[in-house]
Symmetry: C2
Subunit: 156 residues, 2 copies
Amino acid sequence: MTRWLDTQEQQTWRAFLSASKLVFDELERDLQRDTGMPHAYYEILVRLSETPERALRMSALADRSQSSRSRLSHAVARLEEKGWVRRESCPEDKRGQIARLTDEGFAALAAAAPLHVESVRTRVFDPLTAEQQDQLRVLSQALLNALPHPPPTDDD
Amino acid sequence: MTRWLDTQEQQTWRAFLSASKLVFDELERDLQRDTGMPHAYYEILVRLSETPERALRMSALADRSQSSRSRLSHAVARLEEKGWVRRESCPEDKRGQIARLTDEGFAALAAAAPLHVESVRTRVFDPLTAEQQDQLRVLSQALLNALPHPPPTDDD
DNA sequence: GTGTGGAAATTGAGCGCTCAACCACCTAGG
DNA sequence: CCTAGGTGGTTGAGCGCTCAATTTCCACAC
């Protein structure tokens, strides 16, 4: 009863799997080399920097950075050691914690961003035609919508 | 001088990033739940099963499963503990090691495959039109060809 | 032979992630 | 009140991966 993949589908799946894996590996390596920061941490700094106060409740930050709460806790602990994020207790909910981007954190992000964007351009956009870029966007959104809990779409 | 992403490009990049990450996370979770095996291990078993002798030199296996040698060493060590793979010394090169899929390993793979394929279908193919599937294949191959060392394309 | 440079594979430390357990606190029902 | 269940967040163990050695062996030069 298994709906096996035919030859064409196998090629599609394999190509997608390899391309994604290798592209993200490259980006991760670039970022690690240039900034000593894994992409997940970069993501966190980006999310914080996008808010007016450069601060977010842990749970909100977890949602926006597509991270589990556990992962975020560990990550923010590391980022705090580096001095890039500070934890503050939340006034209206004593269980809550607020993660705030420090000036050093913002500076680290500002230094990392151009290098990372250049990587993304080289690995993802330059190899694709304008039409393929459109296709990639539409198709990715279709994949997102099919997930159990389709997340809201936004930007980097 | 940074070639920043415009709004459209940011949406594309974000969608691709999220979709890939979330889809692969789902697949990983499905596989882990159904078989107790991470996808990287599944990949190794698949590669071995595809050869006539169900055996490969470590380096060849590393190439085909897009793994570093170090990662493969660790992984095969684990798979050997599970009794799914056996290491043999290589007759014509005393440095070499041959990884051979055991009958238990083949059985584990045979049990895992239908579940995994169903996951892939649900998460990747079902949400896409036939046209989008074609686009995904072509576009993924374009990304692969743009990588430093474009790997040969094949199937799952 | 005897080195010498490189390839095959392994190892161990360090790190990030997952999963399950846990603590602190909020909130609704009685 | 107060207590039962749920939410916010953290913690620790276990695991897989990376990176930089390290070891063993091949292959080629002299």
